[in-house]
């Protein structure tokens, strides 16, 4: 009888141990999923391509091979993992390194000229071209005034009349 009770206890303990093991396994699986939340290189580069490191001028951060840029990309990765948005990350870089890290200057103050002037100039150029093309393609209406009309006109050039008469004579 005691043996049966002990066996039951043993089975129960084994069962609990098994359940506990499964629980731990599920927890560790959960941690594995959490690790998958680490931003990928593509996600990091998506933010990085909008930034320029002042050390490597004219090289976007996503393709910059220097150590400094590598560090910057790690900062982006960390901040993405913390749940920060692209705008928040860019603002962090602006606060720390200045506006010049941005691929697109902020739309404030005189920076607006960069955005407004080129399209405005292109538009003006297009209007100018359109007007001039119109003038070039439109046939010029030459004053086709008959000789009679001309003679009626008090301001008829005597020289032209004389010339026309001469031409008639020759024909």
């Amino acid at each position: 009888m005691i043996n049966i009770i002990l066996t039951k206890h043993f089975l129960r303990i084994t069962g609990y141990t098994f359940l506990l093991a499964i629980s731990f396994a599920s927890i560790s699986t959960h941690f594995a999923y959490a690790q998958d939340d680490i931003p990928t290189d593509d996600e990091v580069n998506e933010v990085a391509k909008g930034l320029y490191c002042p050390v490597c001028e004219n090289t976007p951060l996503d393709v910059c091979p220097t150590e400094a840029c590598k560090q910057w990309r790690n900062v982006i990765r960390t901040q993405l993992a913390e749940g920060k948005t692209e705008e928040e990350i860019k603002q962090y870089f602006v606060d720390y390194y200045g506006d010049r890290v941005l691929a697109e200057p902020p739309r404030t103050g005189l920076n607006w000229l960069i955005y407004v002037l080129p399209p405005a100039l292109i538009l003006l150029g297009a209007v100018w071209l359109f007007k001039n093309f119109q003038a070039w393609t439109k046939p010029k209406v030459v004053e086709s005034v008959s000789i009679q009309e001309r003679s009626d006109d008090s301001s008829t050039d005597k020289y032209i009349s004389q010339l026309e008469e001469e031409l008639k004579k020759r024909n």
């Binding site: 400094a68 560090q71 606060d95 720390y96 000229l113 086709s144």
Partner: protein, 185 residues
């Protein structure tokens, strides 16, 4: 029958407006260019007062923000560095040694250029640097001095006048001392 091809002239006020706009644009471009052409601060120039923020743990007498005017009457050694800069490592130990040698008589100020704070702290720890250090926020100070790279060190005398510029790493502590001693005599 006759048709005269008459061109409408642009109203005077629009013409004036266009010319004013072009003139304003030229002035703007001109002033920006002249600012950029000013070049770097030269030795002999009296420096404008500037302030810098310091890393926590690297404050100066408990202050996390210091100005050049705070150091009036003392020689200031302003060193631009970065953790990603290999030549900076060559002089890091010498700068710290010089700082300890002068024991506050000369102010050493490290400016971390275009760097990330964790890496900067690792660097400072690695070379056991204790003198005031901080990030060059918004790269404003490096732009003011128009540094050409790192490391670069600026020696400022007791009157706030820049008297020596060292481009590249120091070769020895004696080199640092010899530049400082020029103003301590």
């Amino acid at each position: 029958m006759s048709e005269i091809n008459q061109r409408k002239s642009v109203p005077l006020w629009i013409q004036v407006l266009i010319w004013l706009f072009i003139a304003a644009l030229l002035v703007l471009v001109g002033s920006t260019l002249s600012k950029r052409q000013q070049g770097r601060i030269q030795t002999g120039d009296k420096l404008p007062d500037f302030s810098v923020t310091l890393f926590s743990g690297y404050e100066f007498e408990g202050k996390s923000e210091v100005s050049l005017s705070d150091f009036a009457g003392k020689v200031v050694v302003l060193n631009f560095w970065a953790s990603w800069c290999k030549p900076c490592e060559q002089e890091a130990a010498e700068l710290e040694e010089a700082w300890r040698f002068y024991n506050g008589e000369v102010i050493f100020l490290g400016m971390d250029y275009v760097d990330t704070e964790p890496e900067a702290r690792t660097y400072l720890k690695k070379f056991q640097i204790t003198y005031p250090n901080g990030p060059d926020l918004r790269t404003s100070l490096s732009q003011m001095f128009r540094i050409t790279g790192v490391p670069e060190t600026y020696f400022i005398d007791q009157q706030g006048v820049l008297y020596y510029i060292k481009v590249g790493p120091f070769l020895s502590i004696d080199e640092i001392k010899s530049i400082i001693e020029q103003k301590l005599q």
